[in-house]
């Protein structure tokens, strides 16, 4: 079928002519997917902006109930994990295997740490009665409008945590495949697009953090 006579590496799919074309297509596709993710989360940010513009005082009051210390640690954890996955990819491209697999595993563990810390936040907030529709006990002057903040807080963080979970699963798979020698210096594309996804999860959080934790301090 292909008129190309030179040997095709095993990872090269039939619709591509050469490995470079395959890699560029995958990377390009991932960037395009990330653009859709930005719009996906963006709707929530629009909702946040409109509601906060309408009820600035209630939002400032409500944001004080979030846990600044845990939130800051979570942000730092994600930033570190982004750096770690970049180093893992670098090592893989230089022909490494064990270190890359270990670093990918470490990234996944940092993701799990993030989820655990956030779970702790949810647990505390439930007991504090901050969950509209589930358990909401606030009774201060703006308590009704503060529900809007909490709705957005849970919707955004839940969707974000969902993405973190997917990212952790992908990273674990990549770590395993790397360890088993599935990649080489010539072929790192799956790890590369996974790391891009992970960076996006990080970037979304970078915008969630100031809007949810740093308001009204």
């Amino acid at each position: 079928m292909n008129s190309i006579s030179h040997a095709r590496p095993a990872f090269l799919e039939q619709q591509f002519d050469d490995p470079l074309q395959q890699r560029e297509s995958s990377v390009f596709g991932m960037w395009a997917f990330l653009a859709t993710e930005i719009l996906f989360f963006g709707v929530l940010f629009l909702g946040y902006a409109i509601c906060r513009w309408r009820f600035p005082v209630a939002f400032a009051e409500a944001a004080k109930h979030t846990d600044l210390v845990l939130g800051s640690i979570e942000t730092a954890v994600l930033l570190v994990s982004s750096c770690v996955v970049t180093i893992a990819l670098r090592d893989l491209r230089l022909g490494g295997r064990r270190l890359a697999a270990a670093l990918l595993l470490a990234t996944a563990m940092l993701g799990l740490l993030f989820l655990a810390l956030h779970g702790k936040e949810y647990y505390d907030e439930f007991h504090e009665g901050l969950m509209p529709g589930v358990h909401y006990t606030l009774a201060q002057p703006h308590a009704v409008h503060m529900k809007l903040f909490f709705c957005l807080y849970y919707f955004i963080t839940l969707y974000h945590s969902l993405h973190v979970t997917v990212g952790v699963l992908l990273l674990l798979a990549m770590s395993w495949r790397t360890f088993r020698g599935g990649f080489s210096a010539d072929y790192t594309t799956p790890v590369e697009v996974t790391s891009m996804y992970w960076h996006l999860v990080d970037i979304v959080w970078i915008f969630v953090f100031p809007l949810m934790y740093l308001v009204g301090r």
């Binding site: 039939q14 596709g29 909702g47 409109i50 529709g133 809007l148 709705c151 919707f155």
Partner: protein
């Protein structure tokens, strides 16, 4: 189109192996990664949904034969038009041309062996199927009565129907659309054959590219907006809830940010199909090729800026309304450029009135009528009078049924020999096309008059003075319904009894006509090298 010897009238090599010969078990179809087979999977699925949506339409038209609400209860009627809208929009019109014609033809037209991501392509079909199952589950569980727009606060706080299930269905299908768009974009960027520059792409490919952009940039917004409704129903609180200061109008902004561009998801592919059909049927190169491209891109971009014209009477700011109105008029400019260029292409052409050419010419006329009435509705003052009347219903059916469905069927007839390797009965096809045109106008033109006279939409009963036009409309719907059944019959007949088509029965230019009909698994025996533009017609 290519330096490879022109394939006109070259008979298919005897015993050539088409993509159908690669396995015929159900399993081979359900696990295929061949874009051509996936296109056929989609074609079967959307035909099923089209028939389902048509049944709901039949329920609506039957009820409206008499002024009294005697056939169905108001609730049943609401469920019927909601189901009609949901199924037709998300499970037929939005996928229709891209996932069938686009999936099949895009790689062929750019000289590629497959899509950039074949597995993702198949995954998109599964998402579509799962989303469809959820939607049908909602139907079986009793239906939904919110209208396809799911307006809050009715959908979040008051409706007691299966909104949640339908929203899950549409949400999942939305991701099928996003991934299809992504695949198209990467494929067009990465897999063009040597020499296939951007300004040598057929207009259909440009339309697919533009529509893929719109799919990717609009659909995530729908997905999140619907999920906000779902969460609000699930938890009983949400950001659209007026009781806690939420704004239901915010939902309309988010929804129409998707759903207005979604109109262009439905019509842009139709424009691409019409461009291919008209230039071939008139045997003249398309007039103003580059301007057609600029118009396609212009429509897809400006289409994102006009969503507010759905909200003129909603309580939105008057000033925002004025801006949205002006921007909406702007969209008419590139649309008009396209209509002018199609007619200019026909001028002095050698027009062969094949069935697909009838569809294409019908498309231009009906699209124009739908577009011009769209300008009525874009004018804020007039829109106040016409909002939620049958005028609106007639307007968007002229665009979507008169435009998109006509073009879809035209495309099916044009590329059918390529899909199947068989010719269908030309006489029956012409008859069906004309019958469809007549039935369509009989159905929907009276609705313009009804709306102009003030008949509101979405009621199962109406004042007696509207009856005559409603009866005409329902009669037209019967004609239209029969006309839709005809192609299913004669196209199915052609599969077994049709004459072999050969690679290029219409003497068309374009890479897809260079390969066999039906094409082999990897489309081309030798990757074509392109040396000139897509249209090489002489009168």
């Amino acid at each position: 189109m290519s330096v490879i010897s022109p394939a006109f009238e070259t008979p298919a090599p005897i015993g050539h192996r088409s993509f159908y010969d690669e396995g015929n078990t159900l399993w081979s179809w359900l696990t295929t990664r061949d874009h051509k087979r996936i296109a056929i999977l989609y074609a079967i699925s959307i035909t099923f949904f089209f028939l389902l949506g048509s049944l709901a339409a039949a329920m609506i038209r039957l009820e409206l034969v008499t002024p009294a609400g005697d056939l169905w209860s108001a609730e049943t009627y609401n469920k019927a038009f909601t189901f009609h809208g949901v199924v037709m929009v998300w499970f037929f019109l939005i996928p229709s041309i891209p996932v069938t014609l686009g999936n099949f033809l895009l790689p062929l037209m750019i000289g590629a062996r497959d899509m950039a991501f074949p597995r993702l392509n198949l995954f998109s079909w599964y998402l579509f199927a799962v989303g469809g199952l959820f939607t049908m589950a909602a139907l079986l569980a009793g239906g939904v009565d919110t209208g396809w727009t799911f307006y809050t606060p009715f959908s979040t706080m008051f409706s007691n129907t299966n909104v949640f299930l339908v929203i899950i269905g549409v949400f999942i299908t939305g991701f099928s659309t996003i991934l299809t768009g992504l695949n198209f974009i990467v494929t067009t960027h990465s897999l063009r054959a040597p020499g296939m520059t951007w300004f040598r792409l057929p207009l259909f490919v440009w339309a697919m590219y533009a529509v893929a952009l719109v799919m990717m940039l609009a659909t995530p917004v729908l997905a999140m907006t619907l999920s906000l409704i779902g969460l609000e129903r699930f938890f009983g609180v949400g950001i659209f809830d007026p009781a806690m200061g939420g704004d239901p109008l915010l939902f309309q902004h988010m929804f129409w940010f998707y759903s207005h561009p979604a109109v262009y998801i439905m019509i842009l592919p139709a424009m691409g199909v019409a461009s291919e059909l008209i230039t071939c049927g008139a045997r003249r190169n398309i007039f103003g090729y580059k301007f057609m491209i600029y118009a396609i891109v212009g429509i897809s971009v400006i289409g994102f800026l006009v969503w507010g014209h759905h909200m003129f009477v909603s309580g939105m700011s008057l000033y925002a309304g004025i801006v949205f109105s002006i921007l909406s008029f702007l969209v008419a400019v590139p649309s008009a450029i396209k209509v002018f260029n199609w007619t200019a292409t026909l001028y002095k052409g050698t027009i062969d009135f094949t069935a697909w050419m009838l569809y294409a010419i019908g498309f231009v006329g009906l699209f124009m009528l739908g577009g011009v009435t769209g300008l009525f509705l874009a004018a804020t003052a007039l829109d106040v009078d016409l909002t939620d009347t049958f005028f609106v219903v007639a307007h968007f059916h002229y665009i979507m049924v008169g435009g998109s469905v006509m073009a879809y069927l035209g495309g099916i007839h044009y590329w059918w020999p390529k899909f199947t390797g068989r010719m269908y009965s030309a006489a029956w096809a012409r008859f069906a096309a004309i019958m469809m045109f007549v039935g369509f106008n009989l159905t929907f033109f009276p609705q313009y008059l009804l709306g102009w006279a003030g008949m509101p939409r979405r009621y199962h009963q109406y004042d007696p003075q509207y009856q005559l036009l409603n009866v005409l409309s329902s009669a037209g719907a019967a004609v239209l319904g029969l006309a839709y059944l005809l192609p299913i019959i004669y196209l199915a007949w052609s599969l077994r009894h049709g004459a072999p088509a050969g690679p290029n029965p219409w003497r068309a230019s374009g890479l897809e006509w260079l390969t066999d009909s039906p094409p082999p698994k990897h489309n081309f025996e030798v990757t074509p090298v392109v040396t000139h533009g897509p249209y090489q017609y002489t009168p």
